[in-house]
């Protein structure tokens, strides 16, 4: 079992009345790529800055490799931080940027040279070593910032939305490169982003945050398939999950979901207490667009009739905007077939692929 490199316990940070980080706890293991994912303002960057030492938390503790670093200045924590705005030193050459941290640590010149050259090579910066960092393009600047942080061999490498300002075309390749580099050098990474696709693609584990709190921690698959609440379900996955209101009814000791006039069996049985608690009540169900089956005609009693609002054809996929009574539903199909707008089609929902949420708390109940 890999050792725990970073442990955050009950971290709380307030700015006046605003609680930016609210009792956040998680741990990151050695060699792990761990992401803090959430919308703007959810507290992920503040959490990162507390871990880096650029902010002092009001409550809670931070441990790096078992050492309590909560009150230490950034220089003494054994971390490195890559900023969203790169913050390369524009007046210094790429070489000097990469060597900066090493020079401060007092390493001998030839060792510095060796390390810088190795890093430059793995980041494809060798041709730019003599260039002043301020003159570089955006992705080269970010690679320099990355290289500079890796050079000092931190216990944990922190990244604050590093690819937000990079050209869209290059983002994709940089993500892969970063992941590859991380695996190769076995770097422990804490990555902050608002882009769920990015987090899903690169991370070993993700912590989804909102309003200063962590809502769920798990591997990308776990979070995708078993979201703990509506927020997480909606935040992960594109196109967004469909959340519709329905009723839970008890019929012959089996629970069914009633959607408009159609009754669906829940084949997975709900635990008895939950079943009792919610029988006859309104609940929320979540179903992902890609889990909806589309039929032109009704072929089973469970098929629901919807009208087609709009059809979006994107290469190999078809995204359908449907209307079920007053509710909007989206469906995704990889099979292309002829559908006209304003026509009617039938949806089939697989009960075991649904998530059931409490209507008030929006927490998952099944």
């Amino acid at each position: 079992m890999a050792e725990v490199k970073l442990e955050v316990k009950n971290l709380t940070k307030r700015f006046g009345e605003l609680v930016a980080v609210d009792n956040v706890s998680f741990e990151v293991r050695e060699g792990e790529f761990f992401s803090l994912l959430g919308p703007s303002g959810c507290g992920k960057t503040t959490t990162l800055r507390c871990i880096a030492g650029l902010e002092i938390p009001d409550e809670g503790k931070i441990f790096i490799k078992g050492r309590d670093v909560t009150m230490l200045p950034p220089q003494q924590r054994g971390i490195s931080l890559v900023f969203q705005e790169f913050a390369v030193f524009p007046h210094m050459s790429v070489y000097d940027n990469l060597a900066f941290g090493l020079k401060i640590r007092g390493l001998p010149k030839d060792e510095i040279r060796r390390k810088v050259l190795t890093i430059a090579e793995s980041l494809h910066l060798t041709d730019y070593l003599g260039v002043k960092a301020g003159k570089l393009g955006l992705s080269e600047q970010q690679r320099t910032a990355l290289g500079r942080s890796i050079a000092v061999e931190p216990e944990v490498l922190l990244l604050d939305e590093p690819l937000t300002l990079v050209d869209a075309k290059v983002k994709e390749s940089m993500r892969r490169e970063l992941r590859r580099l991380q695996k190769e050098l076995n770097i422990t990474i804490l990555y902050v982003t608002h882009d769920q696709l990015e987090a899903m693609m690169m991370s070993d584990r993700i912590a989804v945050m909102n309003a200063g709190r962590i809502l769920q921690v798990g591997s990308p698959m776990e979070i995708y398939e078993n979201p703990k609440n509506v927020f997480v379900a909606k935040f992960i996955g594109s196109p967004t999950i469909n959340i519709v209101e329905a009723k839970l009814e008890k019929e012959d000791d089996m629970l069914k979901i009633v959607l408009n006039d159609v009754k669906l069996d829940i084949e997975k049985k709900l635990p008895k207490e939950i079943g009792e608690k919610y029988a006859g009540k309104n609940i929320l169900i979540g179903i992902r667009p890609e889990d909806l089956l589309i039929f032109k005609e009704k072929s089973s009693p469970y098929d629901i009739k919807c009208s087609v609002d709009m059809v979006e054809l994107t290469g190999n996929k078809m995204e359908l905007h449907l209307k079920l009574g007053e509710m909007s539903i989206r469906a995704l199909s990889t099979i292309r077939f002829d559908i006209e707008e304003s026509s009617e089609i039938y949806l089939r929902i697989h009960p075991e692929k649904t998530c059931i949420f409490d209507r008030e708390t929006e927490e998952r109940i099944a």
Binding site: P73, P74, S80, L81, F83, V152
Partner: protein
């Protein structure tokens, strides 16, 4: 950003407004006299002689030749250059130290800042007046401060009677007034350095001193150059304090360049010689500035 420039021609009104007032001012008030000065320099004219300048005889290059063998002129020039160098160096160093110390927040910083820069607002003559009074034989410099250090012998110190000490009083007056200028420019430049860069350096392990010398200072290098040049140009013009505090004395030992030329023109009425001296200085300055611009910005 080079403004929001259009490549189209400006409309008549704009052209008129943008050009006319400024051109009237310049041509009427300055350019004509400048041209006149060139002519005057080649004359042998003294208004006391009774006739107008256009009736005065040409004197060829004699005024210029005289300038090169005029010891008083050359010493004044050298003295002014020395003054400029010393004053700029000291003001820059003090300004830098002060800027470094005041970069971080602390209680009352705003008040400290306002107080520190107020000497800049006082007219030069008033500063000259202040230090004239301070350095009097029975003034506070002697009577209070020096007395505390060396006892009664302090009142024997006659600041304005010895060439070196008189020069020092001029230096002190200028430094007192203009260090805040350097401080202000350096301080605003340093504060403008992006916080991100500083955080990046901190995270990499740099101490505040390293950050100051390796990151903040190099980044404001262009600003430093501008500040030094501006201050040097102003310091070179020094007149007010020399005129008011020492009168160039004792003798001519604190006579600055501007003071000498002023004397030649106003007290000795030697207009053409003054014109010649002025021209020589103008030419020297233009050359120096041109070389400097080439050195700083155009090579490589």
């Amino acid at each position: 950003m080079g403004g929001n420039r259009l490549s189209t021609k400006p409309p008549k009104l704009v052209s008129l407004l943008a050009n006319l007032p400024v051109n009237i001012l310049l041509y009427v008030t300055l350019i004509v006299p400048f041209i006149l000065m060139i002519y005057l320099a080649f004359l042998a004219w003294n208004p006391a002689a009774g006739y107008e300048w256009w009736q005065a005889p040409l004197a060829g290059l004699s005024n210029f030749a005289r300038a090169f063998s005029d010891a008083r002129f050359i010493t004044a020039l050298g003295r002014t250059v020395l003054f400029t160098l010393v004053v700029v160096m000291i003001e820059f160093s003090l300004g830098l130290v002060l800027a470094y110390l005041l970069l971080e927040e602390f209680k009352g910083k705003r008040a400290v800042l306002s107080i520190i820069i107020y000497p800049l607002m006082l007219p030069w003559v008033v500063v000259a007046l202040i230090f004239y009074l301070l350095f009097q034989d029975y003034g506070p410099v002697n009577n209070l401060f020096l007395k505390a250090l060396i006892g009664d012998a302090a009142t024997q110190m006659h600041w304005f009677l010895s060439p070196t000490t008189a020069f020092v009083t001029l230096l002190i007056a200028d430094i007192w007034q203009w260090t805040p200028f350097m401080f202000l420019i350096l301080y605003s430049g340093l504060s403008a350095v992006s916080k991100r860069l500083i955080e990046a350096a901190q995270v990499l392990g740099a101490s505040s001193r390293t950050i100051f010398w390796r990151i903040q200072l190099p980044l404001i290098r262009p600003l430093i150059i501008i500040a030094l040049v501006l201050r040097a140009l102003e310091a070179f013009k020094v007149f007010d304090i020399a005129y008011v505090m020492t009168g160039g004395g004792p003798g001519t030992s604190t006579e600055t360049l501007s003071l000498y030329i002023y004397r030649v023109a106003i007290e000795y009425h030697d207009i053409s010689y003054a014109a010649a001296l002025s021209l020589i200085i103008l030419v020297i300055l233009v050359i120096v500035i041109r070389v400097f611009i080439w050195y700083s910005f155009e090579r490589r």
